[in-house]
Point group: C2
Chain length 361, copies 2
């Protein structure tokens, strides 16, 4: 994802080695080398650093000037903080991301009572990423004791202790927190869902006057979701998919079946966009089900179940939405509003249990 990073060395426990190789192959990662993890944090990092040393036989890796150390439990690291710590490390020899403390830190006495509490404003939580001149951190690990390797938790401290390098501290974003407890997995899932729902593309099968129902629906979606919404008439779809839009609303005013939706699904399949995250597609149909022959139209639309099952294989979640389209203007507005709420929820939740359903607004 970050083009100026040359090599990525990942420490993996022996038990997970095969699974990790599978992931690298599945997502076609090119820059990753694997080393076996140690039993402690510092031993794993040391193994990674050794792989980058000059004297490795048969290694395709070359010794870098600056090395960034990061951990997998902080998945939301942004390029700008990587750049900041790498730049600061080049200048100072070492650098690390910090965050304000959320709780006061205290020191217990041996009998489990309060010995003293630290002033919260004068301390920080040390987070990742951290960066170092390679020669500094490698030298520090070569000198450090078995006690350090067993019980140490802080690389910046090793650089200070063994190489007398004072790390530059860089303010990180709130998203650098450590995914530790079950609640953190809930939070991480919600953050990912929010990110991939930030941009919605509405595909219209018509370019009629601005007053038509598709545009009403667009307005209501804007009220419902605080995201960017783009209208497509089909020809620019390839570009929109390339820009990594993960949410599509296919508005079918003119057609009564799935021609437009089918076109979109084919393009999505070819693009491999959905390898990493599920793509949501909602096929919207307008119907005055009190006046037309309900049964026939429904049968037509029930094909969505088969269609949804088929595209599920490629991680595309397809749902149908039937919007009641009566003559009465007020009722139409109500229907559109409810439709917008359903669309917003399907996009935000990305829940595979509802694929193939025909929801009604």
């Amino acid at each position: 994802r970050v083009c100026w990073i040359k090599d990525i060395v990942v420490s993996v426990t022996r038990d997970n080695m095969e699974a990790m190789k599978g992931i690298i192959q599945k997502y076609q990662h090119k820059r990753i080398s694997l080393v076996e993890a140690g039993v402690t944090r510092h031993r794993s990092i040391f193994n990674g650093l050794k792989a980058l040393a000059e004297d490795q036989p048969d290694s395709k890796l070359s010794k870098p000037e600056v090395v960034i150390i990061h951990d997998a439990v902080r998945p939301f690291v942004e390029e700008d903080i990587l750049l900041k710590v790498a730049t600061a490390a080049k200048e100072h020899g070492a650098a690390g991301a910090i965050r304000p403390l959320v709780s006061t830190v205290i020191s217990p006495s041996a009998d489990g009572c309060l010995d003293h509490s630290l002033e919260r404003a004068r301390h920080r939580a040390s987070e990742m990423p951290q960066a170092f001149l390679y020669d500094v951190i490698y030298a520090a690990y070569q000198q450090c004791s078995d006690y350090d390797l067993e019980f140490g938790t802080e690389c910046l401290q090793l650089a200070l202790k063994y190489c007398h390098v004072k790390a530059k501290l860089v303010e990180g974003s709130p998203d650098l927190w450590k995914v530790t407890y079950k609640r953190d997995l809930y939070a991480a899932e919600s953050i990912i869902k929010e990110r991939i729902s930030q941009h919605i593309c509405i595909v219209m099968d018509t370019k009629e006057d601005e007053e038509h129902v598709g545009h009403h629906l667009e307005e209501m979606l804007k009220n419902e979701l605080n995201v960017s919404i783009q209208i497509s008439t089909g020809r620019d779809l390839q570009q929109i998919i390339l820009e990594q839009c993960y949410s599509f609303v296919c508005v079918n005013v003119m057609t009564s079946a799935f021609e437009e939706t089918q076109k979109l699904l084919n393009m999505l399949k070819e693009s491999h966009l959905s390898v990493l995250y599920p793509v949501v597609v909602i096929s919207v149909h307008f119907l005055d089900y009190k006046s037309v022959h309900f049964d026939h139209k429904m049968e037509n639309l029930m094909q969505i179940r088969e269609l949804a099952k088929e595209v599920k294989e490629s991680n595309v979640l397809l749902c149908g939405l039937l919007i009641y389209y009566p003559q009465d203007e007020q009722k139409l507005q109500d229907s559109l509003r409810q439709g917008a709420t359903i669309i917003a929820t399907l996009i935000k939740e990305r829940n595979s249990a509802f694929i193939g359903q025909l929801l009604i607004a």
Copy 2:
């Protein structure tokens, strides 16, 4: 919620005072008194303590022996930790919940570089609740300086500094974390949803032999959801509602309309169970829609939209689920499995966008 707590004093900013009064009235809280919050943490706590002092004119509150201090940003506090800190405070004069540190804590120098890092294993995060002999903490606040009141963050430290009381530290549960960032709100929402989905009641409209579809569905739900499932035949429903079950699956094998569901909805309405959290009710119907006259049955079932709109007022989320019931055993199993997935998702997500929908499995 905790019967041995006599009075609860809440510090509220002037701007939120009216809203807070509204909440107290809505949920009929009996033991809560309100005081105006100060501009800092310690000033707010001091205001609360003053309200409990002996010399308050016109106060209905009396001075307690032990006072527990807690903050609203840790909503998942359990009775057992409250009891632990209160008991320890009675013995030691002060006590507080602690948690292991997730990140290493460091001390920056004035120029933004690392001065030193603390050994993570020797420090703890100080959380809430904390408890004190009332006389200890009130005396500490009366003596503490303006600097303490402005910049201090730790009540245990005040008891130590001014009353020489060494607080007993009590290990808290992971759920005592502080809801601070947006991701914490996501996590809190997921935790609440998980808690109120821990117990499901399946209401059967029949007591036929064990082989019938309702029991198959129950089996599949057990596979899908790791929660306790109780079967009700209707007569014990009152008791189940009293035990605060928030999730109901109404299985209609014998009836084709909503008689059983309607009975349940009436009982829920009378119980006021849904004041605090939404109750999910899923009305399940079996239908071989390839053989019976689809149109007529559907029209019957479409009444669910009106019914759902009506009970939405009382925070009850009603959805319908149509399970395809063919002669073919394999197909029936597939249908039941998909139905169980949909039910599990509706219960876990509790999303009001889907109320009144008739989902199809």
